[in-house]
């Protein structure tokens, strides 16, 4: 029995929890790491969304859970109107989602040449005959501009530059004609001058094929150019969702504000001022803080409220969700009432 998804949403994630068990000596459980601690969102067709967070925020785990590489311990994934749960669902689902990874060289088997690398997904998903596979390989290499195609087919990954390797990874992600691409830090290991090239390539592919794109990064500066919406993750949860412009111009969550304040633009004046950085470290996912995960470091910490219960999503302006009690209308009223008194 499928629950209904919002109209038009390609991917719908509800209450996703992914826990990893810690075992000592292979079988004694000593605790679990709550890498994803209740994540819900929706992604429309043709929409590009950025998931921003630091290490330990759960963003990579979210990507892998969406890709079906980790099984969620709780929660549901809906894709194109279908639930994705068992093995057969996964098989169908995987051919509709492409994966672009961070390390271009590591993502390619060093002992396979370009042709074989691209042929593998086709072979696994039963695309025959060989002419059809070669046709699709040619087409996809053309799209990522690794031309002349015949030049590249026999090459091995170590014969390609970093940018070319990443194009090949993108080509491989595209070859099954997916509807969704999950890109986990696709450019952070590339040179600055190549990054833009790859991001623009992804954007172009997205427009041409009406692809949905999930772009995971820690580099907020790139987000504005390539995505419509942004989700900010912290401690295994999404703490803010907004359109890009909204987020950058008026960030609401104190963590997002701190994050934005910490990102430098190339400006010589930077050298003269000390940036405000919240004290402390990202939260342990093994023993997370109670209530709001950010409360130990939050400059706007409200005692008695923030550490008690996990804040739900509030919507201070249309399309902008924040999981922070500062935006709880009842609390705001209370504070306004207090200050007026």
């Amino acid at each position: 029995m499928n629950a209904t998804t919002s109209d038009g949403a390609l991917l719908s994630v509800r209450g996703l929890h992914t826990c990893f068990e810690l075992r000592r000596w292979g079988f004694i459980r000593v605790g679990h790491v709550r890498a994803l601690d209740g994540v819900s969102f929706e992604l429309g067709r043709g929409e590009a969304v950025a998931i921003v967070g630091e290490s330990g925020s759960g963003k990579s785990t979210l990507a892998k859970t969406i890709l079906g590489l980790h099984l969620p311990t709780k929660g549901e994934i809906f894709f194109d109107g279908r639930t994705v749960r068992g093995q057969e669902d996964l098989q169908w689902y995987r051919s509709h989602v492409g994966y672009v990874q961070q390390d271009p060289y590591g993502a390619l088997p060093p002992f396979m040449n370009v042709q074989r690398i691209l042929e593998e997904p086709l072979l696994i998903n039963g695309v025959t005959p060989k002419e059809r596979r070669l046709y699709r390989i040619n087409k996809v290499l053309d799209e990522v501009k690794l031309t002349p195609v015949d030049d590249f087919l026999p090459r091995f990954p170590h014969m390609l530059s970093g940018g070319q390797q990443q194009r090949l990874v993108v080509a491989r992600a595209m070859i099954l004609e997916p509807q969704l691409i999950v890109a986990d830090e696709p450019v952070s290991m590339l040179d600055a001058s190549v990054r833009v090239e790859i991001l623009q390539l992804l954007r172009g592919l997205q427009a041409r094929h009406n692809l949905s794109l999930i772009y995971i990064t820690h580099d907020l500066s790139t987000v504005r150019y390539f995505c419509e919406r942004v989700f900010v993750m912290y401690g295994g949860k999404i703490i803010e969702q907004a359109r890009v412009g909204q987020l950058i111009d008026s960030p609401r969550h104190p963590y997002t504000q701190a994050l934005l304040a910490a990102i430098p633009d190339p400006d010589p004046a930077n050298a003269t001022r000390i940036r405000p950085v919240p004290a402390g470290e990202p939260p342990s996912l093994l023993h997370p803080p109670s209530g709001c995960r950010f409360h130990p470091r939050c400059p706007a910490f409200m005692k008695g409220i923030c550490e008690v219960e996990v804040p739900p999503d509030f919507e201070p302006s249309s399309g902008h969700m924040v999981a922070c009690y500062l935006y709880d209308p009842s609390i705001e009223q209370m504070r306004r009432g207090v200050s007026r008194a």
């Binding site: 970093g162 040179d191 833009v196 580099d219 950058i248 010589p268 930077n270």
Partner: protein, 320 residues
């Protein structure tokens, strides 16, 4: 040329011997740095900036083909010193290094306090373990690591903390100059900002001079007083930071700046098609000519460094 500056690199060459021929990693680099200032060397992977840092500190592998030039440190050409003299007088005493991914190169079996104190003991600056420990505690204070971390092992520390420990190790001998090679590239945004704050504080409180090597132009602006851009083993532009970040001169610098996404500034992003040339057989003439949008006939000849606005140097015929 001795200057009143702290560091002056003159025509430094470092080539490596490989099976395919000599790799011209550092090909005639000249730079100066005044005391108390920070110079940032920016460039992409393979431009030779890491090799430059190692060349200055004479941390060379076995397959060195050519190693020539002058490196003036406070009026003394340290290239003339013997290996032993260099080790005793310069390396880590007057110039220290925080290498790339330093947080991963801490010795996992030593407590961090002991590791940080090691340079002191090696160079005979501290004679008892009490003295060494006191100095370690002091330098921990400068980098913002709590004192009770002295007895911890590296695996007990987070990435940001470990990077600070590596920095402390470089500071402890009170060198004149610290070379930092990609100090923040493996770190999160907030941790990065933290480390930059620490570096700024050290710069202010101790008057430390930094030689910062990075590919991250945005982060480099946090610390830079002077900037130098490297491409294919050569320095193609040097400037004061103020002028550089506002308006770079060399076509490569401009394209590089254009490819840096900015958070608050809405600009069109560009990229540089093609690849940097191989350092084994670099092309004659201007090495960027192949990819340069402003290329013209003179570019087949290698341009010298032209002076612009009295204190900017650009290696480009457009400024002849």
């Amino acid at each position: 040329m001795t200057s009143n500056g702290l560091l002056s690199v003159e025509n430094l060459h470092l080539y490596f011997r490989t099976l395919k021929g000599p790799v011209q990693a550092v090909d005639g680099v000249s730079l100066t740095l005044q005391r108390g200032r920070t110079v940032v060397v920016v460039g992409e992977s393979g431009c030779g900036k890491t090799s430059l840092g190692r060349a200055i500190l004479r941390l060379l592998p076995r397959n060195v083909h050519t190693y020539t030039g002058k490196v003036w440190l406070n009026g003394l050409d340290v290239m003339t010193l013997s290996e032993e003299q260099f080790r005793k007088q310069v390396r880590w005493i007057r110039i220290a290094l925080v290498p790339q991914a330093a947080m991963n190169s801490l010795n996992p079996v030593l407590r961090v306090g002991d590791q940080v104190a090691e340079p002191l003991i090696i160079h005979g600056r501290a004679h008892t373990s009490e003295e060494a420990r006191k100095s370690a505690a002091e330098v921990f204070r400068h980098v913002g690591v709590p004192i009770d971390f002295l007895d911890r092992y590296p695996f007990e520390l987070s990435g940001g903390m470990r990077q600070r420990v590596a920095l402390a190790m470089a500071l402890i001998t009170q060198p004149d100059l610290i070379i930092l090679d990609e100090p923040t590239s493996a770190l999160d945004v907030l941790t990065q900002a933290n480390i930059m704050n620490v570096l700024k504080t050290i710069k202010r409180e101790l008057g430390m001079s930094f030689f910062l090597i990075t590919h991250d132009i945005a982060t480099s602006s946090e610390l830079a007083d002077d900037a130098a851009v490297m491409y294919a083993g050569q320095v193609v532009e040097t400037s004061r930071a103020g002028q550089f970040f506002k308006e770079p001169l060399h076509p490569y610098s401009r394209l590089l700046m254009a490819s840096v996404p900015t958070l608050h500034d809405d600009k069109a992003l560009g990229f540089i098609p093609g690849q940097p040339p191989s350092l084994i057989n670099p092309p004659t003439g201007c090495r960027f000519a192949d990819r340069c949008p402003a290329r013209f006939h003179k570019c087949s000849e290698e341009p010298p460094l032209f002076t612009v606005d009295s204190d900017r140097l650009v290696k480009c015929w457009l400024y002849a």
